[in-house]
Symmetry: C3
Subunit: 488 residues, 3 copies
């Protein structure tokens, strides 16, 4: 049994300083104060959330409060919000002893990230040049949640292996990179990406994978003790999976233009996800002995259809088109868990705790390709001329763009997402490799003990070796008490 406690002489298992007391509170305070100052200087309410709305309504001939964007967007916003905090958070609780870190640090990243995203995205997209202020409304809140989603995807790759300070640094840079990448894709290339297959998933996944590659831990596989799940942690993870799955139609439609676009995006996503479930279950059963299903696949690959239909969600993909996308992504994603994750770890030195390569990277790239092809194939017959303009926003600077050209720009957008993800990830990974962030030693990975006060009497984690009597935590405890029983 190659076991971490036996290799106690090796470098990686030397106890590391994981005390985050000076650094973590300091970073939280300083950054939160910085947010307050920047918000004070830059951020104000937009026309629809400002008390001047009654005048605005009159001056814009709006007859009803139901035309306030709040009523078009808020239900979708709340669904997206649930995905970010409960969906991503609980999806990562599957590890037997990292549920606090999964749901707690997810909470931390998201709460900081949305503030910084409001600023970064605001400067690029919502700056009112008349007074130099960023004007925010419900759509900005959705976009901030989207932006944070990219960082949470990246968290999936390094789950259990980094300190909360590292996560905050990763989020700071992640949001910044995202905002620039998004600006290039949306405002310069004028590509469409309603559900963020490229902007969110491809970027986020490669950002996380590149960081994980730089932070490679060669001896991690000797510390398998905490890398699996237990029965109830898998059930908790299904809470995350299901809230992501159910609300994904809201995610992909949340910022689409009002009316048929938003409606269609929800339908396409609903269908693509349904198809993913069946093919995920099929492949999972096909590749396990006796046809047994693997919870890891069900928790993750069932969502691949939602990722892959992100870019094209608002297009006239047709219901069967959505099913086809979900069909193939369920297969590819599940096969990824079976073959590609081990390959990445062994050959490419990429340790991907949650398998984000299978759930976000590959389906994200497929989503970008589907988007490019379906944009290039758009016709006036299918969309109507007005529909074509609405859907692809062929107006203003790109009013003469045609679908085939749009397809090219969509493909270019994919490249931008990849470059920002991989390049940014390597850069940030190098920063995170500095020995100042309080990250855990190899045998502290995947263990809540390192950063959390744990309840004293604990359940069910079998001690690694009972004769090992320098164990320090709760496991220690339990074996101890059985000792005494015998001695008496």
């Amino acid at each position: 049994m190659g076991n971490c406690l036996q290799s106690v002489g090796c470098f990686t298992c030397l106890p590391k300083n994981t005390n985050i007391r000076p650094s973590f509170p300091a970073v939280c305070f300083v950054w939160q104060i910085a947010m307050i100052i920047l918000f004070g200087v830059f951020i104000r309410y937009d026309a629809e959330s400002d008390a001047h709305w009654p005048q605005y309504k009159k001056s814009h001939n709006i007859t009803s409060d139901s035309e306030n964007d709040f009523y078009f967007r808020y239900p979708s916003f709340q669904d997206v919000h649930v995905m970010i905090f409960v969906g991503f958070g609980f999806l990562m609780t599957f590890l037997k002893r990292y549920s606090f870190g999964a749901v707690g640090f997810n909470f931390l990243i998201a709460a900081f990230g949305i503030q910084w995203a409001l600023l970064m995205q605001g400067w690029f997209h919502s700056l009112d040049y008349t007074d130099g202020k960023i004007k925010i409304g419900v759509e900005n809140l959705i976009n901030a949640d989207f932006c944070v989603a990219g960082c949470l995807i990246a968290y999936g790759a390094v789950l259990g292996k980094v300190s909360p300070v590292q996560l905050l640094v990763m989020t700071l840079f992640g949001v910044t990179l995202y905002a620039v990448e998004e600006f290039i894709i949306i405002s310069i290339l004028h590509a469409q990406d309603a559900g963020g297959s490229m902007i969110i998933h491809t970027f986020g996944a490669y950002y996380g994978l590149a960081i994980s590659w730089v932070l490679y831990r060669p001896n991690l596989d000797q510390c398998k003790r905490l890398q699996g799940s237990v029965y109830h942690s898998d059930v908790f993870a299904m809470v995350g999976t299901l809230f992501l799955w159910m609300f994904w139609p809201s995610f992909n439609s949340a910022t689409v233009y009002h009316g048929d676009g938003q409606h269609r995006a929800a339908i396409n996503t609903y269908l693509s996800l349904a198809a993913s479930v069946l093919t995920t279950m099929a492949i999972s059963s096909l590749f396990q002995k006796k046809g047994k299903l693997d919870m890891v696949h069900i928790q993750n690959a069932t969502l691949a259809g939602g990722v892959a239909v992100g870019t094209a969600a608002e297009f006239m993909l047709m219901p069967y088109g959505s099913l086809i996308v979900g069909f193939f992504c369920g297969i590819i994603s599940t096969l990824g868990y079976i073959y590609i994750t081990p390959f990445l770890e062994k050959r490419l030195k990429i340790q991907d705790t949650c398998g984000i390569h299978n759930l976000h990277a590959m389906p994200g790239v497929i989503g970008g390709i589907v988007g490019a092809i379906s944009a290039a194939a758009a016709t006036e017959h299918v969309y109507s001329s007005e529909g074509l303009i609405n859907t692809f926003q062929f107006e203003g600077p790109i009013q003469n763009r045609v679908p085939t050209v749009q397809g090219g720009y969509q493909a270019a957008a994919m490249c931008v997402a990849l470059v920002f993800g991989i390049g940014g990830g390597i850069l940030v990974g190098i920063i995170l490799k500095l020995p100042i962030w309080g990250d855990p030693a190899d045998d502290g990975c995947f263990d809540d003990e390192v950063y959390w006060e744990l309840p004293e009497d604990e359940e069910s984690i079998p001690p690694v070796l009972e004769y090992n009597n320098h164990m320090t935590n709760k496991h220690r405890d339990m074996s101890q008490s059985s000792f005494s029983v015998e001695q008496s």
Copy 2:
């Protein structure tokens, strides 16, 4: 101790072939491909989700995108979606060792069922005769979720006793039967059933009970090992209960006509459910020694009010009327768990894992009766003439129908639901009895081990082998193992 391992010679405990490798992936693939082909041939977007919506708006004098049905229905749709996937899924996680199967197979059934339901219901209700295509929008998605609810109710009766292949077969036929039954009730009888007391609950429950009757396992009671709950599995089940309870007002109002009908359906359901909670708790306490509450009742019977107010939800039932319905259904449903479930099992040979007879069958029938009576008693004074037409859709072919006649048609609808449920269930049960589906032997029932790869180190399930008769619980266990370690 009559124990399954002791009766190992009996037929039912002979190991069965539960290998679903050739069959399960094959069924998933073939059916999903069939869905893609059928969707390709038949399904398109409806006017409100098609890119031609701007023209449609103009031609129909619709001034605002907020009139798109998406904005009336989507929030309710999402609530219903949560009920289907999290509500039903987690409600069934109460068994100590069948949470994966509960939430995972629920996911499978629903994901396949909604696709097939879009087709089946589409042919009956949304076929555009000009081009032979089914046109879908958000209301179709809600109806597909409704249809699947019927099959998930049926799953509750056979939970833990069937294979996933059997579940898929059950869903295929269940959705088909549902669509025909719904067509007869809605389009031929012109009965009202907003929340589906008859169409969904009565049908689904008797469908499941009939199947369970045909699949009766006479020696199942000798294998009680896994039939109960553990503490945390009961808490997980409360996640299901509460999401069902909270969103039931959305369920019953989701497809009601816009305006007062939808508003009233939500209020009636909210009230009926509240009353159910109090009477459930009262009866649960009254019939247990020392007045202790039973989690099984709280998890289930508190929902009976929502089932029973389904048909009449949009009627002018009056707030006190809703309370009365909830009052009695909480009582009846809880008494069902105490007296009727054991009776059904012993006398009628119906094994009903989740007690769907108490939660869906009885309250469903009561709901149908309440609907028939309150329809027959409707007056112009209470509804206004326009309100009467709106509520009962006395227009087109039934424009001369009067409330008393409507009451008769409502009663007829109940009979249709019963006939389809019982008849269909027996038929499908016979099919499922064929020895080709990979269903578990009696001692593999209620055990995730059969169809799932389980995490290696596990919590708290008492070992199968009884010859070790001084083991007391897992902790004991662990100290046992440390014993051996030290002794060696």
Copy 3:
């Protein structure tokens, strides 16, 4: 080891009669029947949920069903509903062995409370003087949920220490007091309190704390056995935390006037909550050895920002103002858990199971003060004259009121909330001290065993005494071990 079993001779550990069989079912039945009668006499649908809506629409020149209040309010209502039942319920599941009581009694209180609140609030606010009936619509449902929130907050202080009958009594009086207090604050003082910092949180918290003070149990600290959490109960509590956190923007905006007010309230709450998360984490880490985070803080103090921004949510607080409120409340609330809760228990004899003083009382008072100051500082420049009238409802009897005066009324409202909370709590506490309610002895506190049938084979509660080695399960365990103690 100061242990309850050793102090078995003391008064408080004498077995108490916790049999609630005659009383609990009786109270449930009688009160539910009373509700039905009162609803029958008093409650009807309002104009927007009555079948006469088509006429009402015509007579009020409403052109679209999307103007029905249902479509403005229902999504927020459902979010609030989730907070009440899942949010509050699961937040309290953190105790290792009181999850059934947490989520089950929360369910009971809320289901009874909303009915009684519809009546009490109805008499004060929705009485139609033409026919003496209370007319209810979706806004009444939201307000009933709000009212119940006050009682659930109070439940947090006495969690695990009272019987369900006591909880029902507490709810009956709590709702009554709330309705009067609300009437004084809203209709007499014309103070604003959109998210209920004063009406809900300050009142509810002091109501609960006063009750807990009267019901002080001096020997409770000798029974620490069940007062902590276990790993998975903490994860369950995070389900509650996150649903509260995510939907708080809906809570604070749910009853705000349509349009910009509702929009702004959501934005302010979103931001305040985000800031709370960072400062909570910072303080939690700063005050623990090695900088480890404490789950109790993360579960609770992260929500303080939502409480504190309640009153001022709809004001032009500005995004940075919201961040500042959240910033300080995260700090204060976390420090409360570290320093004030132990102080309250030791010095003031207030045992506050969930720490509601830190999460609701202090942030509630801060929220009232923020509201008073920001109301007093309101200017026409910031709000526009029409916006000022909309926001503060300077119309009818208070059409000449100015912001500075409004600030004074806001402060007066805070005093009303405090007086009702403390005074009402002492009164109700005295009633609950009567020895007729079936409350548990000290060593039955925090134990589901007292009021619930528990599953037989149980997880993970360490046996009280290790030398007892023929224990078979926990129940066995406990009786066994108390036996042996006495015998020894």
